[in-house]
C-alpha cells in the first residue's frame, strides 16, 4: 500500500469528455440512420412509381395498338397520326407520344432533342421532356413501312421531392435539438461525476471525511456515489485504525526495545565473556518476544486483508470442537471444566482462521476463570445465524471497557502476571470481520459471555 499525498497531479480527464464524445457519436449515428431511412423511402417510392408508370404505359399501348390494328402500313400510320395529333387537344394526363418515319419525327410531344436511353425489357428512359416534366418512360412500337410509334408517360417526381425536403427539414430540426439539449444533458451528468471526482480529490488531499454528494439518488450515479462513499468509509476506517495501531505499536514496543538496547549496551561493556554471553542470550529472548508481537500483528493484518474468494463451506461446530480439543489439557491444568454443546452449523469460512478464533476465545476464557470454574462453549443455530458462545465465570469486563476489548494491545487492568501480548481478541475481531460475523460481549453474571454470530450458510442441494 503506497499512499503519497505529495504526488503533484491529481488525476484529471486529459482528453475530450467521454460524455461529449458519446453525444457526438450518438448524433452522428442518428444522422446516418436518418439519411439511410430517407434514402430507403425514396428508393421505395421511386421504384413503386416506376412500376406504376410501366403498367399504365402497357395498358395505353394495348389501347393504342387496338385502335390502329389492321390494314396497310400506310393506313396504320394514318391512324397513329390521328391519335398523336388528337393527344394535343386533350388535357395533360402525362401521356406522351412520338410518331417517326424514316428516322424523322412526324408528330408527337416527345421533342426530337430529348435523349432516349435504352433500359431492361425494351423500355426507354426519356430525358428533356417539355412541359416542366424532366423525365419519362416509353416503349417503341414498329408500325411497319419504316414507321415507329413511341408510347410513353412522364414521371411523377413530386412525392419524391417532397419526401426528401421534409426529411431534410426533420433531420435539421433534430440536429438543432441535439445541439441545444445535448450539452445541457451531458453538463448535468458531468456535474454529478465532477462532484464524485471532487470528493475523491479532497480525500486525496488528506481530508478523509469527504464524501460524494448525491448518494441518495436512486439512479446509476446515486449508486456510483454510494459505492465511492462506502469505499471512502472503509479507507477512513483503515487509516484511523492504522494510526491507532501505529501509535500503540510505537508505545508498546518502546519498552521492550529500550530494554533490548540497554541489555546490548551492557553486553558490550561486560567485564568478562561469560557475562556478555548471558546478556546476549537475554537480548535474544527479548528480540523473540518482539518478533512474536510483530508476527501476531501481521496475522491480524492478514486475516483482515483476506479476500472472500478463500472462504469455503465448513461446519462451525467442527471447528469449535477442534479448538475445544486443543485446549482441553490447558483447561485441565488450570482446574477449569470445559463444557461443549453443539448443533450442526454450516458456515462459509477459512477453517484455520475459524479454529484460531474459537481457540483464542477459549484461551481467553480459561485465563480469566477461577480454579474450579466452568467454561461453556456452545455452537447453535439462531435466526439465520450460526452462533458460537464462550462463557466463563471470571471477573467479566465492566460495561465501559467492552468496546476496548477487541482492540489491539488491550489488556484488562487486573490481569497482573497473566501472560499475553493483548492481541488475541484483536485477532478474533479481525477474523470475525473477514467472515462477516458479529461479535458481542455480555455480562454472564458472574463472568463474561462472548458471542460470535456467523451468517449461516445453506448449501444448495446437489453441491
Amino acid at each position: 500500500m503506497s499512499f503519497d499525498p505529495t504526488s503533484p497531479e491529481p488525476p484529471r480527464a486529459r482528453g475530450p469528455s467521454a460524455f461529449l464524445r458519446l453525444a457526438a457519436i450518438y448524433v452522428a449515428a442518428f444522422a446516418v440512420s436518418g439519411v439511410l431511412f430517407v434514402a430507403g423511402a425514396v428508393h421505395l417510392v421511386s421504384s413503386k412509381n416506376l412500376e406504376r408508370t410501366q403498367a399504365l404505359i402497357l395498358a395505353d399501348r394495348e389501347a393504342v395498338l387496338d385502335k390502329i390494328d389492321g390494314g396497310s402500313p400506310e393506313l396504320r400510320f394514318g391512324k397513329a397520326m390521328a391519335i398523336v395529333l388528337a393527344r394535343g387537344a386533350r388535357p395533360d394526363d402525362g401521356r406522351v407520344y412520338r410518331l417517326e418515319r424514316g428516322g424523322m419525327v412526324a408528330a408527337g410531344d416527345i421533342p426530337a432533342k430529348a435523349v432516349l436511353t435504352a433500359r431492361d425489357g425494351g423500355w426507354l428512359t426519356i430525358r428533356g421532356l417539355e412541359g416542366g416534366r424532366a423525365r419519362g418512360l416509353a416503349l417503341r412500337e414498329s408500325l411497319g413501312g419504316g414507321a415507329t410509334l413511341l408510347i410513353g408517360r412522364a414521371y411523377e417526381d413530386e412525392l419524391q421531392t417532397e419526401l426528401v425536403s421534409t426529411a431534410a427539414a426533420a433531420l435539421a430540426l433534430a440536429a438543432l435539438a441535439a445541439l441545444l439539449v445535448g450539452p445541457w444533458a451531458s453538463g448535468q451528468i458531468l456535474k454529478r461525476v465532477q462532484a464524485v471526482n471532487e470528493a475523491c480529490d479532497r480525500v486525496r488531499a488528506g481530508d478523509f471525511s469527504a464524501r460524494a454528494p448525491g448518494a441518495e439518488a436512486r439512479d446509476e450515479f446515486g449508486a456510483l456515489a454510494g459505492h465511492v462513499n462506502a469505499m471512502l468509509e472503509r479507507i477512513d476506517g483503515l487509516v484511523v485504525g492504522l494510526r491507532d495501531v501505529s501509535n500503540r505499536i510505537a508505545h508498546d514496543l518502546r519498552t521492550p526495545m529500550a530494554r533490548l538496547r540497554s541489555d546490548l549496551e551492557a553486553a558490550r561493556d561486560a567485564k568478562d565473556l561469560k557475562e556478555a554471553r548471558r546478556l546476549t542470550s537475554v537480548a535474544i529472548a527479548e528480540t523473540d518476544e518482539i518478533l512474536e508481537t510483530f508476527s501476531a500483528l501481521l496475522d491480524i493484518a492478514e486475516a483482515e486483508a483476506g479476500a472472500d474468494a478463500g472462504l469455503e463451506a465448513l461446519m462451525l461446530d467442527d471447528a469449535a470442537e477442534a479448538a475445544v480439543d486443543l485446549y482441553q489439557a490447558v483447561a485441565d491444568d488450570a482446574g477449569v471444566r470445559l463444557v461443549f454443546e453443539r448443533e450442526p452449523c454450516p458456515i462459509l469460512g477459512e477453517r484455520s482462521l475459524v479454529i484460531r478464533l474459537a481457540a483464542n476465545l477459549i484461551d481467553n476464557a480459561i485465563k480469566f476463570s477461577p480454579r474450579g470454574g466452568t467454561v461453556q462453549v456452545r455452537v447453535e443455530q439462531a435466526d439465520g445465524w450460526a452462533r458460537l458462545t464462550v462463557e466463563d465465570q471470571g471477573p467479566g469486563v465492566p460495561e465501559a471497557e467492552r468496546e476496548q476489548v477487541w482492540r489491539r494491545f488491550t489488556r484488562g487492568r487486573d490481569v497482573g502476571s497473566t501472560p499475553g501480548h493483548g492481541l488475541g481478541l484483536a485477532l478474533v475481531a479481525a477474523v470475525a470481520k473477514r467472515h462477516g460475523a458479529r461479535i458481542e460481549l455480555e455480562d454472564a453474571r458472574p463472568g463474561l459471555r462472548m458471542r460470535v454470530r456467523f451468517p449461516a450458510f445453506a448449501p444448495t442441494p446437489g453441491m
Partner: protein, 227 residues
C-alpha cells in the same frame, strides 16, 4: 548430507550455507526457481530448502512441479514473518516443514536433521527402547522398568516424537507440527507447554528423575541412555 537451497537473498543464503556446512553438509544454492527445479529433478538431494518468494518460478510452484514429477525429497519452506496463510499453502503444496524468518541456525539444523531422519527411517519400529524407558508405538503404551505410565493421547504423541528423535534437540514448533499436524495454525504455545509439562511430570513421577531435558532457548531432548 546434500542440500538444495532455493534462495535469492544473498545474506539469507549465506546463513543457511554456513549452518549446513558447519554441520558437515553440502549446499547447492540456486537463486531462481527454474534452476532449482532442474537440479532437484536431475540429482538426488537429501533435503530441499525453499524460499517462498524468489525470482522466476516461486518456491511453492517449484515444489508442486517436483511433487508432480514424483520427486519425494523432503522439503522445508522458508518464509517471511507472520504469514500464517502461506504456512498452510506450503504444506498443501507438498512441503514437509515450515520455518519463518528470522530463524536460529540451531532451529534450522534441527528441522533439517528431523527431515533427514524421517526420510531415512525405513520401517517404523514397534518399540523404541531408551535405556529403561520403553515406548511401544503400536500399542501406544509407555513403560518405565516394566511399569506402565499412563499418558493422554497427545502426551504419548509428544513422547513418541521425542523418542524418535532421541539425543536430538526438538523445538516447540517441531513438536507442534508433529503432534497437531491437522491444525495448520501457528503453534499455540500454552497448549504445547501444558501437554509437555504434564508429560514431564508423569515421567518424572514414574522414574524419580526428569527424563526430558530442557535446552535453554532451543527446545527439549530425550537421551537414549535413560536409567
Amino acid at each position: 548430507m546434500r542440500v538444495l537451497l532455493l534462495e535469492d537473498d544473498d545474506d539469507a543464503a549465506e546463513r543457511v550455507i554456513q549452518a549446513i556446512s558447519g554441520a558437515g553438509g553440502q549446499v547447492d544454492r540456486h537463486a531462481r526457481g527454474e534452476d532449482a527445479l532442474k537440479a532437484a529433478a536431475a540429482e538426488a538431494y537429501d533435503v530441499l530448502i525453499l524460499d517462498r518468494m524468489v525470482e522466476g518460478l516461486d518456491g511453492l510452484t517449484t515444489l508442486k512441479r517436483l511433487r508432480a514429477m514424483d520427486v519425494q525429497t523432503p522439503a522445508l519452506f522458508l518464509s517471511n514473518l507472520g504469514q500464517s496463510r502461506s504456512r498452510v499453502e506450503g504444506l498443501d503444496a507438498g512441503g514437509d516443514d515450515y520455518l519463518a524468518k528470522p530463524f536460529d541456525n540451531e532451529e534450522l539444523l534441527a528441522r533439517v536433521n528431523a527431515l533427514l531422519r524421517r526420510s531415512r527411517r525405513e520401517a517404523h519400529p514397534d518399540v523404541i527402547v531408551l535405556g529403561d524407558l520403553e515406548v511401544r508405538i503400536k500399542a501406544r503404551t509407555v513403560h518405565w522398568r516394566g511399569a506402565h505410565v499412563d499418558l493422554s493421547p497427545k502426551e504419548f504423541e509428544i513422547l513418541k516424537y521425542l523418542a524418535e528423535n532421541h539425543d536430538q534437540i526438538v523445538s516447540r514448533q517441531m513438536i507442534w507440527n508433529a503432534v497437531w499436524p491437522e491444525y495448520r495454525i501457528p503453534p499455540q504455545i500454552n497448549v504445547i507447554d501444558v501437554n509437555l509439562s504434564r508429560l514431564r511430570s508423569k515421567l518424572e513421577a514414574a522414574a524419580g528423575s526428569p527424563l526430558v531435558e530442557t535446552v535453554r532457548k532451543q527446545g527439549f531432548v530425550i537421551r537414549s541412555d535413560l536409567a
